[in-house]
Symmetry: C2
DNA sequence: CAATCCAGCGTACAACTGTACACTTAAGCT
DNA sequence: AGCTTAAGTGTACAGTTGTACGCTGGATTG
């Protein structure tokens, strides 16, 4: 039942996924990646690719999902840090920037496919980002007495600012990156404070 | 001196540019566009392309520049509207959303190449967006007594939120779009108000 | 044990790509 | 009028792409 065969299949499936992720970089996008390239890198015949995915698009969606998992982990980590540390804003920015630095290519994938040519890709990425917004909305509602809608609007603004800062950070050197981080933190303070002051609560 | 020849050359150059812009859509990106496709659409032989551009990249940069001009016009229009109308925030969002609705493909081009695989493309788009930030910074400094740095941070936040809302609007129906617009306006109020309250001035 | 299944392979093909090269032909210049 | 310049053409080629098809050999099943 262990399935020595199924095991091998899963192994090459992972090889394909890894090969695809490996080839992602600042100069090489998933969209400009050919089936044959992936197969070559994964060490299989081009036609063997079809035993695992119907399409490059199907592989791409898998990648986005895998990236989503990594992001979900990130969120959990951020929440733990906040519980211990206190500062929501600083911790969130720190955690996110750390993710971008450590997984630039995964982040690039999301960034690009968010505005890519495939509807399904765009939807998949939007779904992942919405997880962020929703979790943050919940958090904000627990902390203060904002209405659902109000909290969501604020959460959306916060996520947008952080996500965008991550995107911009990709092309910056460490010094500029640090400055960007500080500006972002300030922007988050502004919007948070503004929301708290405008005060249209539940 | 008029140059009947130079005139004709300029004409087919424009034909190439128009063909490229025409082919941009939700399903077709500039990156996935071939030299031959453009030539075909422009009604010239593939090899004639080289009489005008060395590269598809060179054509792409030209497109980004042209888009920049359209955006610059937009800014001028927005400023005029503000002078007459008053509300900075509402007018800005209205103007920008109008642009996205009217030139979705130009906006898509900028959006995609902002995180594309060509450094030069990314730089070109960043330059265009920086124009927005700088102009807004100047405006904010004139209106209030923020320091340059403080005003820039605020401007950056505002531009990020608006630009991102534009991106999101692309895939939405009119009703959702209206809701997004309202949320964005609220977010801009938050951040503006927050900046005014935190008050670290010149 | 024999029969079946199926992941992976190799070959093959038609479609498309960028671009080198030699050409035509009309405009521009002297 | 004659010579030159250069925009646009057509042919050609080597490289790459996705994928259809038939095969193989080891794992799985009965």
């Amino acid at each position: 039942m262990a399935g020595a065969r199924a095991l091998q299949k899963e192994k090459t499936r992972q090889a394909i996924i890894d090969a695809a992720l490996m080839h992602l970089s600042a100069e090489h996008s998933f969209a400009s990646m050919s089936l044959r390239e992936v197969a070559r890198e994964a060490g299989i015949a081009p036609t063997s690719f079809y035993r695992h995915f119907n399409d490059m698009e199907e592989l791409g969606l898998t990648l986005v999902d895998e990236s989503g998992l990594t992001l979900r982990e990130l969120m959990r980590k951020a929440r733990q840090r906040i519980e211990k540390n206190g500062s929501v804003i600083n911790t969130s920015v720190e955690t996110f920037m750390e993710f971008v630095e450590r997984n630039p290519n995964i982040f690039r994938l999301l960034l690009r496919e968010r505005s890519g040519t495939s509807v399904r890709f765009r939807e998949a990425v939007a779904r992942e980002i919405n997880h962020f917004k929703d979790e943050l909305t919940e958090y904000l509602m627990a902390e203060s007495d904002y209405s659902q809608e109000y909290a969501f609007t604020l959460a959306e603004g916060l996520v947008t600012l952080v996500f965008n800062a991550g995107a911009e950070a990709l092309d910056l050197n460490p010094i500029e990156r640090e400055k960007l981080k500080e500006r972002t933190i300030l922007q988050l303070r502004f919007i948070t404070f503004g929301a708290a002051s405008t005060k249209e609560k539940a």
